[in-house]
């Protein structure tokens, strides 16, 4: 009885080791990321267009909210194209995509906190350290 149990356990161990080896050596993941070259070239072209657009925002000297919203728009579009296509995130399973993409979004909370903080610092500096005129 105990002999059989030991034998079974040993078998299970070797099986696990085998599966683990297969996973580690990448035999389970043989296909890789295969996409047509044309897709990369199209994205490349779009990145050039978007970069040119964001440069033109500065070249034509746009100001205020129009400038800021355009800069942010082109920035987000470029970042999205790079992450989704060049880094293949569009084809990964959602478990990975959410694990990697959600945490940086939380940085926006930090941004909001620091905006309040720097407004406050600015206010104090204006009140107490303004150059006497």
């Amino acid at each position: 009885m105990t002999n059989v149990a030991v034998h079974l356990e040993a078998q299970q161990h070797s099986l696990q080791a085998h599966v683990h080896d297969a996973l580690a050596s990448g035999t389970v993941h043989t296909t890789g990321q295969q996409h047509p070259i044309k897709l990369y070239l199209v994205v490349w072209g779009w990145l050039f267009v978007l970069s040119t657009c964001s440069y033109l925002v500065d070249y034509f000297g746009l100001h205020g909210h129009l400038r800021w919203s355009l800069i942010l728009l082109f920035m987000v579009l470029k970042a999205g194209l790079i992450v989704a296509v060049f880094m293949h995130m569009a084809w990964e399973r959602l478990a990975l995509a959410y694990a990697i993409l959600l945490p940086p979004v939380l940085v926006l909370v930090f941004v909001a906190i620091m905006m309040f903080e720097s407004d406050y610092t600015h206010l104090l500096r204006v009140i107490f350290f303004a150059p006497a005129t």
Binding site: H18, V19, Q34, Y40, L47, I71, F74, R93, A95, V107
Partner: protein
């Protein structure tokens, strides 16, 4: 006996997608990231941590710029170059942006040829990427020299808020370091590709693990991340 058991168990079960897939993957045994190798998952997690580092730099820059009572130097004028007789705003930074985007394009294609096991094309495209990267670092060195000669220091500059220099050197310096490391990484892997290490699954000298063409994609992930960070620096530091 063990072999028959193996063939029965190793058949990949169909994995659900969507939210059900996330729940299934994260609650499953052993691995949360299915059909992604450990190397790729670890590179993604490293890049996530690097994202936080650069986020902190950009945040401290934002805080400095928002809280100062002295006007911020206009980057459009600071980084202008006189070519011929015309003074073109931000032209050097624009060229650097295009160079880095081009390097991302060649890198993406290198990954593609890597999975097709085209040794020569993969290595050539990786070396082209490295050359673009080295050019970028060279232009950054030129930019630093120019600004230092004009009197920009981490504690002050001739045009306005003193924090400008500290933010500039910290952010672009850290990014330039990343590009430099990427160039070294690219050249090292390109050499292995060219030598055929991944065709014969030669073991690495340091890890003693068999090499696969997937390392080209992992290198690519790092390189695209460097480009990605530049997108944010370009928008938030140079254009804002």
């Amino acid at each position: 006996m063990a072999e028959t058991a193996l063939t029965n168990t190793i058949e990949p079960p169909a994995r659900p997608g969507g939210w059900r897939g996330i729940a299934a993957d994260w609650s499953s045994d052993q691995r949360a990231f299915k059909n992604v190798s450990w190397g790729k998952a670890m590179m993604w997690i490293f890049l996530l941590s690097d994202t936080f580092i650069f986020s902190c730099f950009l945040l401290s820059y934002m805080t400095a710029r928002m809280s100062t009572t002295v006007p911020w130097p206009n980057p459009s004028e600071v980084f202008a170059l006189t070519i011929g007789d015309k003074r073109i705003p931000l032209i050097l930074i624009a060229i650097m942006t295009f160079i880095l985007i081009s390097s991302s394009g060649t890198m993406a294609m290198a990954v593609n040829f890597g999975y097709r096991r085209d040794r020569v094309k993969t290595a050539a495209l990786m070396l082209a990427t490295a050359a673009f990267g080295a050019t970028f670092v060279g232009m950054q060195a030129f930019e630093w020299t120019k600004l230092i000669l004009e009197g920009v220091r981490p504690w002050g500059n001739p045009w306005g808020a003193a924090q400008f220099g500290a933010s500039f050197f910290m952010i672009t310096g850290f990014h330039g370091t990343h590009v430099t490391i990427g160039v070294i990484f690219l050249i090292a892997i390109a050499r292995k590709v060219l030598r055929g290490d991944f065709d014969v699954e030669r073991r690495g000298f340091f890890t003693s693990r068999k090499g696969h063409y997937e390392i080209v994609e992992i290198t690519g992930l790092y390189w695209h991340f460097v480009d990605l960070v530049w997108v944010f620096i370009f928008a938030l530091f140079y254009l804002w």
